[in-house]
């Protein structure tokens, strides 16, 4: 219980401290302090195999543990990079930015612990509010436009999820008043007596609402704008951390549907939205000219893959959990390197960027490797997880899904290659004087670690991670 409270309160306390600090140079270190404390507490959970809880609302289960650990690891990587990044951007005050990042860490941790659908909603809405100021860091008209679209679309989406949550409560109390409505551990044993029409309505609204947050097509329209205009660091946290939290919300919903015996209703919708997201990503990837928006469509694609895995069940669901981890790590490499490239070349238009490998050898190499990883090429972890989902689809005999899945992956590979390869290779432009900062230790070290982690997961999955992922997948009918 103490550990749980510390995990939630440390970021909030440090957010208060960072408000009080006057120096823009020293304030970003609060992020590293919070991240290190958070990560060491989470590591302690793994070592001592503890499952802390406060009452019944906040409690760690296998699914929450995987998501919490991913949040913690990615935030640690982001915090070190943030120090290097914010030191380069001292022309902008970073008080709001740092404070919002710390609140974001706290709100996402609440999501991971939440066992109550109402609390889950409150925490996810809080993540939206905490991330809006992050998008607006650059304070120009384009980032403002992106912030407005993000706020409006995500607020409407999350409002529909609230309606879905109310529908779920009606489904639960239809037969008469119940003890502790909307509480997941209490709901699962009595799921058989949920009112089916209301459960179906709840499913659709929650899927649309949390799907908006996750960025599934056709509710993905905020994503290219937000990821395109936000600093690379923020794009990374949204695409790696926030989407994983939204995925967890869909997993909670799936748990209820499964317990109620309604998976026949849920599966086709998951599969449909999953494939649609992959298809939309493939179409928009082909004509893309902006390399940060390209990464946003890549995120839409991977959220589609996760949802597809959830819908297929069995082996594919295990693959989806593995894929969530891989995607988070690989997105870190790509978004952070895109941030470095953007700082140096001062443009987001891919056709104006050449010879990154000459100008920024580390960033160029990591961006290229990140591209190879995210498109699911061996020997990286995403190859393993995408292949696992493919095996799941083949095992079920869904040949149409297999064809659509492979087709989209191939188109996206080609689309991304056409953008990334000319950027990384080729002759750099001659205006060396106009160029921005070079690579530094702080802005390349953690992406290197993230890439190494994706590589390791492609070659060998440690048994402790394998057990944890399997336990999380088994909550929603996954197996290996």
């Amino acid at each position: 219980m103490t550990i749980l409270l510390l995990l939630l309160l440390i970021p909030v306390v440090l957010a208060g401290v960072s408000l009080a600090i006057r120096s823009d140079v020293w304030r970003p270190w609060m992020l590293v302090i919070a991240a290190v404390l958070h990560a060491s507490l989470v590591a302690n959970l793994w070592v001592s195999d503890a499952w802390p809880s406060i009452g019944t609302w906040l409690s760690l289960d296998p699914a929450g543990k995987v998501v919490l650990s991913l949040i913690s690891a990615l935030f640690l990587a982001a915090s070190v990079y943030a120090v290097g990044y914010l030191h380069r951007r001292l022309e902008r005050p970073n008080r709001t930015f740092v404070t919002s990042l710390l609140f974001f860490l706290s709100a996402t941790s609440v999501v991971a612990f939440s066992q109550h659908f109402g609390l889950l909603w409150v925490a996810l809405e809080a993540t939206t509010l905490a991330s809006a100021p992050l998008l607006y860091f650059n304070h120009n008209s384009r980032s403002l436009e992106a912030t407005w679209k993000y706020l409006l679309i995500c607020s409407v989406g999350i409002a529909l999820a609230l309606l879905g949550t109310f529908f779920l409560a009606v489904a639960e109390t239809f037969q008469g008043p119940v003890e502790s409505a909307l509480l997941l551990p209490a709901m699962l044993p009595r799921a058989g007596s949920l009112s089916v029409p209301w459960l179906h309505a709840a499913f659709i609204f929650l899927l649309v609402g949390y799907g908006t947050k996750m960025g599934l097509a056709p509710m993905h329209t905020w994503k290219p704008d937000a990821y395109g205009e936000a600093p690379g660091l923020v794009g990374f946290l949204l695409s790696g951390v926030l989407t994983s939290c939204a995925f967890l919300a869909l997993v909670r919903l799936t748990q209820v549907c499964q317990a109620a015996g309604q998976m026949d209703f849920a599966r086709p919708l998951f599969i449909l939205l999953g494939l649609l997201s992959m298809g939309v990503a493939a179409v928009f990837m082909l004509g893309q000219t902006d390399y940060k928006r390209m990464l946003a469509y890549s995120s839409v694609e991977h959220m589609g893959i996760l949802t597809l895995g959830l819908g297929l069940g069995g082996l594919a669901t295990y693959g989806a959990w593995l894929h969530m981890v891989n995607n988070g790590l690989a997105k870190g490499v790509l978004f952070l390197m895109a941030g470095n490239i953007h700082r140096h070349y001062r443009t987001k238009t891919a056709s104006e960027v050449h010879g990154v490998l000459h100008r920024l050898p580390w960033s160029g190499a990591l961006f290229m490797a990140g591209f190879i990883a995210i498109t699911g090429s061996p020997p990286f972890g995403l190859f393993m997880s995408e292949f696992t989902i493919l095996r799941g689809a083949i095992g079920n005999g869904h040949w149409g899904i297999v064809a659509g899945y492979l087709g989209c992956l191939a188109v996206i590979f080609i689309g991304m290659a056409r953008i990334v390869v000319p950027m990384v290779f080729g002759e750099p432009p001659n205006d060396a004087a106009a160029s921005g900062p070079k690579d530094s230790f702080l802005t390349t070290f953690t992406p290197l670690v993230l890439l190494a982690a994706v590589l390791v997961l492609g070659l060998y999955i440690p048994s402790w991670l394998d057990r944890a992922l399997l336990a999380a997948a088994q909550l929603v009918g996954g197996l290996r």
Binding site: G118, V122, L152
Partner: protein, 214 residues
Amino acid sequence: MEHVTQLLLILVILANLFVLGSHPLGACIRAVAFQGIALGLLPLSLHPEERSIHLFVIALGMVGLKGFVIPGLLFRAIRDAAIRKEQEPLIGFNTGLFLGAILVGLGFGIAGKLPLPPHTGSSMVVPVALSTVMMGLLVIVTRAKILSQALGYLILENGIYTFGLILAAGLPGLIEMGVLLDIFAGIFIMGTVIEHIHREFGSISAHKLVNLRE
């Protein structure tokens, strides 16, 4: 109390139609504030047998927040940004009213398909809630001014709150507090962004927000 409930619900619908069919922004904000007050009083007439302190606190909080605080924030945004009062909808006001009427019918149709939950108080709650949600969405997608879009979001929230009323007794107070706090913070941040947009673009028309396109 059944009559009072029905009266309040009809007022909610009328406020929606007023926003869909009227020009000045200030009048629309007042209509939504009025809607908020009607909604704040609804739990008292819906659950007359369980008028607990809990229920009174919710009612008071809702009337204060939706009836006064949030409209106040929006009026401040109008004043600070010196916004012109016309709304510039993308569809005509008559078309808006017509679509609104269709959505009311649709709300009743959808609600008829779902079994009526017990203890609803009035059979009109669910259809009114659903049609308010849909009309809120309609306002969001058909208004050019971002302040009107924020107003549409408020209507959408009011619809969801109406639905939540049939659960009022079953939901833990802490969750309600969290929901209210989030909505308030959301509107507050929207207001701030609106101010920034006005400063940056010299206008709060969403037509100006077209830099980011495929």
